[in-house]
Symmetry: C2
């Protein structure tokens, strides 16, 4: 997409995998964040983690070094789904 030039005020976002989970409460959401964090450390690959609205966690997986998705993102997503 190099031929596309966005106007001022736009930021190009890299392709990413994103998914949101709603847990029972803040404590459950924070526990989920910690399980995801442990997996991320195992994988050496770290998602962006947003805990918002008290009990909801949104994960965003992408590979910053390539500006998009790689097999590392797919592997981490599969591992998180297995939690």
């Amino acid at each position: 997409m190099d031929e596309v030039t966005a106007g001022d005020g736009w930021t190009r976002e890299a392709a990413a995998l994103t998914r949101e989970w709603t847990l029972a409460d803040f404590s459950a959401a924070l526990a989920f964040v910690n399980r995801v964090g442990a997996l991320a450390e195992e994988h050496g690959h770290h998602p962006d983690i947003l805990l918002h609205g008290w009990n909801t966690v949104r994960l965003t997986l992408s590979t910053h070094s390539v500006g998009g998705l790689t097999a590392a993102d797919e592997r981490l997503a599969v591992a998180i789904d297995a939690l």
Copy 2:
């Protein structure tokens, strides 16, 4: 500001306190998130927590029930600063 009507495509964001911390690594950032989480549970008041870019934590404090800032946000901010 009720007299101001934004055009389509705009979302009004409530007033909030926001601050960002950059830690040594993902593990340190996650530990910080847990300390903030424990404080939030003590206060019965929960910020939005974004762990992004591997080692950076952004907190956003506001009181959803009033759509803006209250003393509860100020108290939690002071407590977090004391961590």
